[in-house]
C-alpha cells in the first residue's frame, strides 16, 4: 500500500490525510459558510449600527444591546417564549409517553391509534395552522360551536391577550407529541421482554412496573426528547404567521418571530443581530446541558 508507506516517511506528505480533507471539504465549506460564519458575523454586527441609505454602518459598542434591553417587546417575547417552552415541553413529553405506552400494548385498533397520533408530524405546520385558525374562529369556528352547545358565552380565543398564547401552545403540543411518541415507542420495543415476564411473575402492579422498570430505563430517551423539545420551543414559529402574527398586542410574539419582524419587516440589522446573539446563547445553553448532563447519563447506563 503506497499511501501507508508514504505515511511512514518522516516529513513526507501523507496522501491519506489529503484524501480525508478532500472528502470533508465540500460539506465543511458549506457548514462554515452557513453556520459558523453567520454566528461570528452576527456577534460582530451586534456592535455596529444598521446601515441605512446614505449612512454606512458605524461601531456603536453596546448600543444595540441597550436598545434591546429597553425594548419592552423584546422582554415580552422572551417571557412568552419561556412560558411557551414551560407548557409545550412537559405536556408534549408526557402525552408522547402515554401514547407510546398505549401503542406498545395490544390495544384495540393499535395501527389506527399510532397513525392518528403521528399524522400531525408529517403535515406542514403552515397548512395545519390554517385549519386551527378555523377551529378558533369566533362565532362559527368549531370550538365556538361546541361551547355554544353547552351554552357557554362566545370567546375570541386568538383575539384576546389572555388566551392567545395558550391557543398557539395547544397547536404546538398537538404537532409535537406524536413525533416524540416515536422515540419512546422505539425505546419501549427495545426493552428486554424478560423484565416484563419477571414483573408478571412477581405480580407487580402496572404502575409499579412503569415507575421502577420502564421509566428509569427510558431516561436516555427522555433526555434526548427533552433536548429536542427545548430546541423546538425556540424554533416553532410557523403557526404564528397564520394564527396571530404575534398579536394581539404582542401576546404571542416568540423570540424567533420577533427576530423575523425586526430583521425583515423593520430591516434593523443591528437590533436583529443582538436578538440573534440572545437566541444563540440560549441554544449554547441547551448544548452545554446536553454535553454535560445528557451524554454523561447515557454513557453511565
Amino acid at each position: 500500500m503506497t499511501s501507508a508507506r508514504l505515511a511512514a516517511q518522516p516529513g513526507g506528505v501523507d496522501l491519506r490525510v489529503v484524501h480525508a480533507w478532500l472528502l470533508l471539504l465540500p460539506a465543511l465549506v458549506l457548514l462554515v459558510a452557513f453556520v459558523h460564519w453567520p454566528v461570528v458575523a452576527t456577534f460582530i454586527d451586534s456592535f455596529w449600527s444598521t446601515p441605512r441609505a446614505g449612512r454606512a454602518s458605524v461601531f456603536v459598542g453596546m448600543e444595540n444591546y441597550r436598545v434591546m434591553i429597553e425594548d419592552p417587546v423584546f422582554w415580552k417575547a422572551l417571557r412568552n417564549n419561556l412560558l411557551f417552552a414551560l407548557f409545550t415541553i412537559p405536556t408534549s413529553i408526557v402525552l408522547a409517553l402515554i401514547m407510546a405506552l398505549w401503542v406498545n400494548e395490544r390495544i384495540a385498533g393499535r395501527a389506527f391509534l399510532r397513525m392518528a397520533y403521528f399524522t400531525p408530524t408529517v403535515l406542514p405546520m403552515i397548512a395545519v395552522a390554517n385549519i386551527w385558525l378555523f377551529f378558533y374562529t369566533p362565532q362559527y369556528g368549531l370550538l365556538e360551536q361546541i361551547t355554544q352547545l353547552f351554552g357557554l358565552p362566545s370567546h375570541n380565543w386568538l383575539g384576546s391577550p389572555s388566551t392567545a398564547l395558550g391557543a398557539v401552545t395547544v397547536v404546538a403540543i398537538w404537532k409535537e407529541a406524536g413525533f416524540f411518541m416515536i422515540f419512546y415507542l422505539a425505546a419501549l420495543q427495545a426493552l428486554n421482554p424478560s423484565l416484563r415476564e419477571a414483573a408478571a411473575i412477581e405480580g407487580a402492579s402496572r404502575w409499579y412496573f412503569f415507575r421502577r422498570v420502564q421509566w428509569p430505563l427510558l431516561m436516555p430517551t427522555t433526555l434526548f426528547v427533552l433536548v429536542n423539545a427545548f430546541i423546538n420551543a425556540f424554533r416553532m414559529v410557523d403557526h404564528l404567521f397564520v394564527l396571530t402574527r404575534g398579536g394581539p398586542d404582542n401576546a404571542t410574539t416568540l423570540l424567533l418571530y420577533y427576530l423575523y419582524e425586526v430583521g425583515f419587516s423593520f430591516w434593523d440589522v443591528g437590533h436583529a443581530s443582538a436578538i440573534t446573539v440572545v437566541l444563540v446563547t440560549v441554544l449554547a445553553g441547551i448544548a452545554l446541558f446536553q454535553f454535560f448532563v445528557v451524554d454523561k447519563r447515557v454513557h453511565y447506563r
Partner: protein
C-alpha cells in the same frame, strides 16, 4: 412451559377498557383537525360549518383554489427543491461521514465537534446573516438560495458516520486488496450496507423541507422560487378573505403528497423517524 409463560405474559398488564377508551378519544381529538379540513374541502361553502350527514360532495373548492394561485408552479418548485437538497445532502454527507468514520488525521475530533454545532444552531436561527450572504451572492429569490444552507447536514453526517463505523473493517480491506480505490470501496461496500439509513434519512429530509417555511419565506419574493408552504401562506392571507372551503382545499392540496405517502408507507415512515432518532 414457554406457552404457559407467554399466555401469562399476555394476560398480565393488558390495557383495560378505560385505557382503550382514553386512547381512542385522544386519537380522535388528534385527527379532528384533519377530518374537519377534509369535510370542509369536499363540501360546498354553505356546509363549511354545518355538519349535515348527507351534504352534497364537491371538488369545486379544489378547482377554485388551483385557479386562484399558481399552485402548479409551487408544486414544481417544492419538488425540485426537495430533490436538490436531498441529492446534495446524500453526496456531501456520505463523503464527509466516510472521512470521519475511516480516516485518522489530526484535528478529526475537533472538526467533528464543529460539524455537530449545526445540530443546535440550525440555519433557522441565523436567518439575518444568511440572508445577507444570499444578497451578496446574488441568489435571492432562487431555489438554490433556499437549499444551500441545508446542503451540509450535520444530522446526516452523524447518522452515516455511526453506520459506516459499524461496517466490518475486513470488508473494507478485502475491497482494497482487490484493487478498489477509496471512493470505489465507499460506493461498493459502505453505501449498499447503509441503505436502510439512507431511506430513513431521505424520508426525514423530504418531509422537513417539504414543510419548511420561515427561510423560504424570507429568501423568496416572487412565485419564481416560492415553495408550497410560502405560496399557501401568501394565498390564504392576501387573496381569500374568509372563504374557508377554498383555503382548506388549498391546505389539503399542499399536504396531500406527504400525507398520501405517509398513509401508504406508514411502517416505513414510522421506522425511519425511529431510526433517525436513535443513534
Amino acid at each position: 412451559m414457554s406457552a404457559h409463560t407467554t399466555s401469562q405474559r399476555l394476560a398480565w398488564n393488558e390495557p383495560t377498557w378505560l385505557d382503550t377508551l382514553a386512547a381512542w378519544l385522544l386519537a380522535l381529538l388528534w385527527i379532528l383537525p384533519l377530518a374537519y379540513a377534509v369535510w370542509t374541502a369536499f363540501h360546498p361553502t354553505e356546509f363549511a360549518t354545518r355538519f349535515t350527514p348527507f351534504a352534497p360532495l364537491t371538488l369545486d373548492n379544489f378547482g377554485r383554489a388551483w385557479a386562484a394561485a399558481p399552485f402548479a408552479r409551487y408544486f414544481l418548485n417544492t419538488a425540485l427543491l426537495v430533490l436538490m437538497i436531498l441529492g446534495a445532502q446524500l453526496v456531501l454527507c456520505t463523503l464527509a461521514a466516510y472521512a470521519f468514520a475511516r480516516w485518522r488525521f489530526r484535528g478529526r475530533e475537533f472538526v467533528f465537534a464543529l460539524v455537530l454545532v449545526q445540530l443546535m444552531v440550525m440555519p433557522d436561527f441565523v436567518i439575518v446573516e444568511n440572508y445577507r450572504t444570499m444578497v451578496r451572492l446574488g441568489l435571492v429569490d432562487t431555489l438554490l438560495a433556499i437549499g444551500l444552507p441545508y446542503f451540509a447536514s450535520a444530522f446526516a453526517i452523524f447518522l452515516l458516520r455511526q453506520t459506516f463505523m459499524g461496517v466490518p473493517k475486513e470488508l473494507d480491506e478485502a475491497a482494497r486488496i482487490e484493487g478498489a480505490s477509496a471512493l470505489q470501496t465507499l460506493w461498493r461496500v459502505y453505501v449498499p450496507l447503509a441503505r436502510p439509513v439512507y431511506v430513513a434519512f431521505a424520508l426525514v429530509s423530504v418531509s422537513y423541507h417539504w414543510n419548511n417555511f420561515l427561510w423560504p419565506l424570507i429568501v423568496t419574493n416572487t412565485q419564481n422560487a416560492r415553495t408550497l408552504t410560502v405560496g399557501l401562506q401568501v394565498f390564504s392571507s392576501v387573496d381569500q378573505g374568509v372563504d374557508w372551503s377554498v383555503i382548506t382545499a388549498a391546505t389539503l392540496m399542499t399536504s396531500a403528497p406527504l400525507l398520501v405517502a405517509f398513509l401508504l408507507f406508514q411502517r416505513q415512515f414510522v421506522q425511519s423517524f425511529m431510526r433517525a432518532g436513535i443513534k
